[in-house]
């Protein structure tokens, strides 16, 4: 079995087991798993199998959920490929949203230039926030996991401070609305999905998936990053500049997450938000990257899976199934991916038994 195929089987097993765990919990607590699955189908395809109707708006809302978590998935996956664990996508996303918000509200620019500048602001905000743990790792050998966790909380309070005191808010919860020239909103995307909030963040996501694929698989830089992730000492011996790669990787990883924050602020909301707590996009990104095996297409697929789960939440709630089941399923899937050694043992045993049976048959 090739490693790619093996990963797919492991990921799919983990996904199936995760949904199974969710269905068991729902059944144990006296609710119907059928309603949960119906809500998921509706969220993903717009088909209401209980009533036999179709509404394209659900597809648009599902894609909106998919955009930020696919981008944070690319962020976490990019770092993973270079052997770094970025738990900080959450904070980088917030700093990205802050960057985008500051440019949107404070920087005067001609209309055609305003939006690109806002997106640049988001990339720079997230990228700089990712560069900090990269720099501390490269020069002082501080573990990026602890540093990024601490920076998440720092970002939460720093961005709230900046939104309240620098940009200014209208009601201590949100800033004044962005000018139209800074928005990612799209009449076209909205009209083809029957009035959903779908916006050009979709295009940003697609471009980022392509950029990720090209950089990782097709460039010398990507080769160096992968070599570093595979065996740091060998890569150093081969002459790759490890310290530089570490900083560059974390900065790019942060830029992906920053764009996620930018897409949400400029597309979904159209204003900056003061947050009381994390929203979990960084954690979602870890799940997306792990299940997607850190490849561009894998991340796109698992981003769609988890985006569907998120979009199905309100639909489940309205059917009497607590929405938190989505989080339980997601965590179970991650746990099963982490336990892949155990799943691998089972798969090996099953295939050995099947092989044994076949041999006996002959």
């Amino acid at each position: 079995m090739t490693t790619g195929r093996r990963w797919m089987i492991l990921s799919l097993s983990a996904v199936v087991l995760g949904f199974l765990a969710g269905a068991v919990i729902i059944t144990l607590t006296g609710r119907s798993p059928g309603l949960m699955f119906a809500a998921m189908v509706k969220a993903f395809s717009g088909l209401d199998i209980l009533r036999g109707s179709f509404n394209a708006r659900y597809i648009g809302e599902f894609l909106i959920q998919m955009i930020p978590i696919t981008l944070t998935g690319l962020s976490v996956g990019f770092a993973f490929r270079a052997g770094l664990f970025n738990i900080g996508a959450e904070g980088q996303l917030m700093m990205g949203a802050l960057g985008g918000t500051m440019v949107a509200l404070l920087v005067p620019a001609p209309p055609w230039l305003h939006l690109p500048l806002c997106l640049l602001g988001a990339m720079v905000g997230g990228g700089l926030w990712g560069l900090i743990p990269g720099w501390l790792k490269a020069w002082y050998n501080l573990h990026e996991v602890v540093v990024t966790i601490m920076l998440n909380y720092t970002a939460l309070h720093l961005s709230n401070w900046a939104l309240l005191h620098v940009v200014g808010t209208v009601d201590r919860v949100k800033t004044s609305p962005f000018p139209a020239s800074a928005l990612l909103k799209s009449e076209f995307l909205s009209s083809i999905t029957r009035g959903s909030r779908l916006h050009w963040g979709l295009l940003i996501m697609v471009v980022c998936i392509l950029v990720y694929w090209v950089v990782i698989e097709k460039t010398t830089l990507g080769f160096g990053l992968r070599a570093t992730g595979h065996n740091k000492d060998a890569a150093r011996f081969a002459g790759f500049p490890i310290a530089g790669y570490t900083m560059l990787t974390m900065a790019m990883s942060g830029a992906f997450a920053g764009l996620a924050g930018g897409a949400m602020a400029l597309g979904t909301f159209g204003f900056g938000r003061v947050l009381p707590a994390f929203e979990g996009y960084g954690m979602d990104g870890i799940a997306v990257a792990l299940v997607g095996g850190n490849t561009a297409w894998g991340i796109a697929a698992s981003g769609a899976l988890f985006g569907m789960l998120k979009a199905a939440q309100p639909l489940m709630q309205s059917q009497g199934v607590p929405r938190e089941i989505a989080g339980i399923i997601q965590a179970s899937i991650v746990l099963f991916v982490a336990m892949r050694y155990g799943i691998q043992l089972v798969i090996d045993r099953v295939s050995r038994i099947r092989q044994g049976g076949r041999n006996e048959g002959v």
Partner: protein
């Protein structure tokens, strides 16, 4: 007078940080990184809050029964982390992350099932404060440590001492530390590394579960998704800041507790008024990075923590 008011509040904030920090200490000393402290605290906090809602009208011992249940719930929840990271050779960071997500989903899901809302029902008192007779009359020390204070702070102090004795003065502690420093060498001396690591993680579950219960019953009126709001990670920070030593954890946790309490009094203290509140909120996290920088390059933390050991 303000100092006297800040003290009980600072100690109230410090208590759960101390308890969860000690939990992290047992786990990391055995060689298992446990970033799931936050999630375990959520499970403990939910268990305690849900139980107190039911038991409060029945018995005055309700909070203490709830603490016991919180510790047991934490133990059970931590077993996922133990199985995954010891027997199934999972990446400990990933397993811990999964448990943090799971805890948020599971506790609020159960709130929906049990109480029909995204939080537990509110309890009326929670844990009661105590004033220690005679000791409260000691000048200076009395009003600071013995008047109108949550008894759980004394429990936390007691557990710091117990932890120090267990980790540094018993055979068990010696073996535990050996597994966190050099599991192969420990195994060659006949120590069952798997068993020690299980015990380390389970102890962290007990203590973090208790920490969650204490936190919710002393600082909240019900359990919500944001009841723990990062305290598990602050406990992790105290562990690093306290150099994986129980006394260090006590010192760092108390410091972080007081820095939180200070943010409540900013408006009353003239020289602090110009500093924004968000600064105090971010303070422990920034300080942890600074502390890491200060130790950088030198030995810090159990050497084998986070490394998979294969029998």
């Amino acid at each position: 007078m303000k100092v006297f008011e800040i003290f009980p509040i600072g100690l109230m904030f410090a208590t759960p940080i101390i308890l969860a920090g000690l939990g992290g200490l047992f786990s990391e000393r055995s060689g298992v990184v446990n970033i799931a402290l936050e999630g375990i605290m959520m499970v403990g906090g939910f268990t305690a809050a849900a139980l107190v809602v039911v038991l409060e009208p029945l018995t005055p011992a309700a909070p203490w029964i709830a603490f016991l249940a919180a510790a047991v719930a934490g133990l059970v929840f931590s077993l996922f982390h133990a199985v995954a990271s010891v027997h199934l050779r999972a990446d400990q960071i990933i397993s811990g992350t999964a448990l943090n997500i799971l805890a948020g989903g599971l506790t609020v899901y159960l709130c929906q099932i049990l109480f029909g809302q995204q939080r537990t029902r509110a309890f009326s008192v929670g844990l009661r404060k105590v004033t220690v007779p005679f000791l409260e009359d000691i000048p200076l020390v009395g009003p600071l440590f013995f008047s109108e204070i949550y008894p759980t702070f004394y429990l936390a102090l007691f557990l710091v001492v117990i932890t120090w004795i267990v980790v540094y003065r018993t055979v068990f502690g010696l073996r535990l530390r050996a597994c966190g420093e050099h599991p192969e060498a420990a195994a060659s001396m006949g120590i069952d590394v798997y068993r020690m690591r299980y015990l380390g993680v389970m102890l962290s579950g007990v203590l973090a579960g208790l920490a969650g219960g204490v936190m919710v019953l002393s600082q909240d009126i019900q359990y919500t998704l944001t009841s723990i709001h990062g305290t598990g990670f602050i406990a992790l920070a105290s562990l690093i800041f306290g150099k994986w030593n129980p006394w260090g954890v006590l010192g760092a946790a108390t410091f972080f507790g007081f820095s939180q309490a200070l943010s409540f009094y900013v408006n009353d203290i003239s020289f602090l008024q110009s500093i924004p509140l968000e600064f105090f909120h971010a303070f422990p996290y920034v300080l942890t990075i600074v502390a890491l920088l200060a130790f950088a390059g030198r030995y810090s933390g159990p050497r084998a923590a986070g490394r998979i050991y294969q029998r």
